[in-house]
């Protein structure tokens, strides 16, 4: 059992609240995809989970208990494989460094473990002696994966792991991630701005907007029957989708995380909010809650959304 849960987690940097009271659960052995635009706080949430940032409030629990300090059951794979490997260390050393002391004692045992890990990510073990510059982006990302797996984690946090890769390489890395997750029964928080990529790997999809989770549910439910207008906007923004656009909000600006709007944070862009329906004052003043809505949609008028399922079948 390894279930990662965020309970009311808040992260502040000075006056900026990057993550604001997030509740999210990554159930055992499932992949939770986290989508949202830049500045929505997805990466901050990831860094808080692995302990690189200390949350200002709330708790991050593994199986209901606070994260242990000694062992490292959470590991992270970073976006840019060009900066996530030490250029002065061979990839074998980078992987070996992440093997816990107790796991493999002695030189030979560690070398054998490195070989096992590299084979796990489909890299020939003889690559262990190479430096990162001698590898391609996809190969580096495999090494980064091997390093994350070295600590025998129960949960992997993958932060935009394919967005720095060439399109022809992306597919193989996604295949590998999915394959490893299933084989090792890992729980995974998979962060990406690309809905198609998230859809491909995730069982559950959570949508983040300005530091809040605005919708979260099984992947098919969220994609085929989105409850929050922002989720709908994200789906409509996928190239090749021809959804009609509400003129009043067609060219609105993305919100500034430094000055989040009052009430519902999405209201200045919302196609079913006060810009389109002037009588909807609640959006301006009252912060919507997730409870009581399908997919936990944080929207006062979630039920008003017309379901559009014509486009994305079959899933």
């Amino acid at each position: 059992m390894s279930e990662l849960s965020f309970e009311d987690v808040t992260v502040r940097f000075g006056r900026l609240t990057a993550v604001d009271g997030v509740n999210l659960t990554v159930p055992d052995g499932t992949v939770v995809g986290l989508v949202g635009e830049s500045g929505s706080g997805k990466s901050t949430l990831a860094r808080a989970a692995v302990g690189l940032i200390r949350p200002s409030g709330g708790r991050i629990l593994l199986d209901g208990r606070p994260l242990p300090r000694k062992t490292r059951p959470l590991q992270m794979v970073f976006q840019d494989p060009y900066s996530s490997l030490d250029p002065r260390m061979t990839v074998g050393d980078s992987v070996a460094e992440a093997i816990p002391r107790g796991a493999a004692a002695g030189r030979a045992a560690r070398r054998a473990e490195v070989t096992r890990l590299l084979e796990l990510v489909d890299l020939p073990p003889d690559r262990a002696g190479l430096y990162p510059v001698q590898l391609s982006g996809g190969q580096r990302q495999r090494v980064a994966l091997a390093r994350a797996l070295a600590g025998r984690p129960e949960v992997i946090i993958a932060d935009e792991i394919t967005s720095a890769l060439d399109v022809s390489i992306q597919g193989t890395v996604l295949n590998l991630v999915r394959d490893l997750q299933r084989r090792l029964r890992l729980s995974m928080l998979f962060i990406s701005h690309n809905l198609a990529v998230v859809r491909y790997v995730s069982d559950i999809i959570a949508v983040m907007y300005l530091g809040r989770i605005v919708e979260c549910g099984p992947a098919d439910d969220v994609l085929l029957d989105p409850q929050h207008p922002y989720t709908r906007e994200l789906l409509a923004a996928i190239p090749g989708t021809d959804a009609p656009v509400e003129a009043a909000v067609a060219d609105t600006e993305p919100a500034d995380p430094h000055h989040p709007p009052a009430g519902c944070r999405f209201h200045p862009r919302c196609p079913i909010g006060p810009l389109v329906h002037p009588d909807r004052r609640a959006c301006l003043e009252i912060e919507p809650v997730a409870a009581g809505h399908r997919n936990g949609a944080a929207c006062h008028f979630a039920a008003d959304i017309v379901v559009r399922t014509d486009r994305h079948q079959p899933v």
Partner: protein, 620 residues
Amino acid sequence: MRSRWGSVLRTPVGVSAAALLAAVLLLAVLAPLVWSAEADAIDTGSILRGSSAEHSMGTDNLGRDIFARVMVATRLSVVLALVATSIGVLAGLVLGTAPLVLGARAGRIVTAAVNIAVAFPGLLLALFFAVIFGVGATGALLAIGFAIAPGFARLTQTLVARVAGLDFVAAARLAGVGRARLIVRHILPNIGEPLMVNATIAAGNTLLAFAGLSFLGLGVQPPAYDWGRLLGDGLGGIYIHPAAALAPGVAVVVAGLAFNLFGEAMAKGIGRQTAAVPVRRWRRPAATPVQRVPGPDAVLAVEGLRVSFPGPVTPVRGVGFTVRRGEAVGIVGESGSGKTLTALAIARLIEEPGEVSADRLQFLGKDLRIGSGPALRRLLGTSLAMVFQDPTTSFNPTRRMGRQLAEVAEVHQGLGRRPALARAVDRLRAVRIPAAERRARQFPHEFSGGMRQRAMIGMGLMGTPALIVADEPTTALDVTVQKQVLRLLERIRADDSVAILLISHDIAVVREVCDRVLVMYAGRIVEELPAADMHRLARHPYTRALLAAVPDMTTDRDRPLAAIPGRPADPTRLPVGCAFAPRCPLADEQCVREDPPLVADVLGHRVACWHADLVVGEPR
């Protein structure tokens, strides 16, 4: 690593500096063994003599040979300089890495202390320490050492801050690496080179500073002597026998030069990290089989476009296509496919040492290959608009947006200041920037990324463009903003029948906007096909693999994505035959031997593959 030091030694300055430094260091080791007796031999018979056959540099007030003394002094001078530098570097390293070890709060105090120390003049600090530690070699040593420490501490802090922010340090932390090991294994190796360069240069300066302190009587005390001391002793009689003062002076200059020059050569060698491009045999361009005459409505006609750089590398190898009025054409390719260089070549933005050649490069009927006069500049300035990937760097951060747009109209259309600004506001409105008057008075940093990109398009609309070349215009933007920018491009195209050349790595984006798609691989167009029906019509194995490898909203989630084996072609190491052959499932001997030509079918659909027909017949 080794090759980099090798490259330092290959430059003339590097070689001479290294030889000089080696000589100085060798002298420091050997001189006392050879000349010690002579240097200390007191000869009351020949006091304060000028140069003679016996004493080439004369003698001092006890009749000791000055040349021998200068030679022997090498050791003390160099050792003192090196020890002081080591003290400075070590203290600097400790102070510089302290913020990382101590954590945020204590680190801030250390940083503040270092900042104050840096602002304090070094010489004053040295004099201050000399008073504390007392006059003498030890005092001077510590004084100079600690005087250069704050500079190193600052340098170390800056370098550490840069490296510590990189993901591999975060990854090492997650792996459970302790702070001490983090510094030793991950941080120091990655900041070592600039530190060594600076330490070497500092050693030269320290040598000089020591000579100065000894000269003033604050450094080495008799009976010990270094070059500064000898210089001070000899200076009294400089008009009588100048050699006594000049000899140690020359020694200081030579040794100082050796350190400084070597440091500079190292800095240059290490700074030039870009890998040398392996030399490749220059191949003649393959003749383009389809030479088509552009129709009368062609906005842009390109044939046999090549871009090469010294090396030689040719990242664009014979690209040809036409863009008609009001048409949207997309170029899709991976990094290194030459798509961006193609765009830059069309806009004549390839700079030295890059070289552009083409069989045809016509824009609105004008040949872009010849001339660079004001007429051509005006044509490009008003009729061709460029939109780049990163909207943060495409504007001058110190000028107001309105003025930056207005400049285009002032330069190219001869408008006055006021009408130009009015037009700028109008164009900002045209690209749907809310409150355009107010926004025109703002600076680029006050615009969001999407708004900047729209302003960039607005800048292109200051003239009456016939073609907008957009190079990855939405890659840095969020999907919702991307949609806005793409919608804007489409609207402009529809309203004024402006042609669009959209360059992207994202097939979905290109398919949304464009009529036709050019697929580039390794500097060539490998396929040209209608955008609407790519999945059905794609014939080149690369195009098909790309389409299958990228998940979209209809991908079957239970099946693995199609994988393209291998890595993108390296423009510096292209094979003789088809560049895609090493990754292609259909490749055979012919593919390895010969590069397939780009052949058009009756519908104008072009493909460069020996097995294009085979692919068509095959079910996916």
